[in-house]
Amino acid sequence: MGMIEFRFERCKGCGLCVLACPKELLSVGSVTNRAGYPVAQIDSMEECTGCAICAEMCPDVVITVFK
C-alpha cells in the first residue's frame, strides 16, 4: 500500500529512520554515497504502510513517501 524513495546522495547513514519504522523494514548497509556515508535502504517495500514515520524522523529530508 505504501512506497518510499530515498535521495541517495542526501543520506548520512544516521539510522534514525531504521529505528523509527514500526515495521522494521529499513537498514543501513555498506553501500556508500559520494560523500562516503553508508546509505539507508528498504528491505521489502511491499510491507511498507506509507505511514511516513521514517521520513518524519529523518534529519536530512531524505525520504519521500507515497500511499
Partner: protein, 182 residues
C-alpha cells in the same frame, strides 16, 4: 630536508589524529614541525583537514598553498585538495571510499590504499587511518617507522593507550602494502 602533507577526510575518520602522530614522530627525530588543523563549520560533515610541515630549518607559514603531498580519506576532500598538489607531488588515496576511476590527476604520483580491507585483515575497521599513515610514511620516508610508532604514546589520549598495539599493526600493514604491493 622538507616535507609537508595535507590530510583530509570527513569528521570521524581520525584525520587530525594522523596529523598529530606525524608531528610527534618528527619531534622524536628532533626536526622542526608545525601542525595546522582546520576546525569550525567546514568540519561539520564536510571535509575536516590538517596540514603538517616537517623540515630541518625553521618553518615559515604552517599553511601550504600547494602541498608536496595530500592524503585524501574520502572523495570530497580529494576533489577539493588534490588539484593543489605541487608538480611531482604525492597523492595518497583511501581506495576503500574513493573508486579508482575518480582519481584522474596528471603530473603527480598516486598511491591507492584499500585501507578498509587492510584494516579488517588486521582485525579492526577503524584502523583504516593508521594503515594509510603507515603507507604514506613508508612511501615518502619522511620519518622512520620506529619514530612513527613511538609517536602513538604522546599523540593518543591516555584512555586509548590500550589501542596502541592494534594501531601499530595497522601502520605496519599499510607500510607492508606499499613495500610488496599487496
Amino acid at each position: 630536508m622538507y616535507f609537508d602533507s595535507l590530510i583530509a577526510g570527513f569528521g570521524g575518520q581520525g584525520v587530525l589524529l594522523m596529523g598529530n602522530i606525524l608531528v610527534y614522530a618528527a619531534m622524536e627525530e628532533k626536526k622542526h614541525v608545525t601542525f595546522m588543523p582546520v576546525y569550525g563549520v567546514e568540519m561539520r560533515g564536510g571535509t575536516a583537514n590538517c596540514t603538517v610541515v616537517i623540515s630541518d630549518r625553521e618553518i615559515g607559514s604552517p599553511i601550504i598553498q600547494s602541498p608536496v603531498s595530500v592524503i585524501a580519506m574520502n572523495l570530497p576532500s580529494m576533489e577539493k585538495f588534490a588539484p593543489r598538489i605541487k608538480k611531482g607531488g604525492l597523492l595518497v588515496v583511501n581506495a576503500s571510499l574513493i573508486p579508482e576511476e575518480e582519481v584522474r590527476f596528471k603530473g603527480i604520483e598516486c598511491l591507492h590504499i584499500p585501507s578498509r580491507e587492510l584494516a579488517l585483515e588486521v582485525g579492526d575497521e577503524r584502523l583504516a587511518n593508521m594503515v594509510v599513515l603507515g603507507a604514506t610514511v613508508q612511501k615518502s620516508g619522511v620519518v622512520g617507522m620506529k619514530a612513527l610508532k613511538r609517536a602513538l604514546v604522546p599523540a593518543l589520549d591516555p584512555r586509548y593507550h590500550k589501542m596502541i598495539e592494534k594501531n601499530i599493526r595497522g601502520m605496519e600493514r599499510g607500510a607492508e602494502f606499499v613495500k610488496h604491493g599487496s
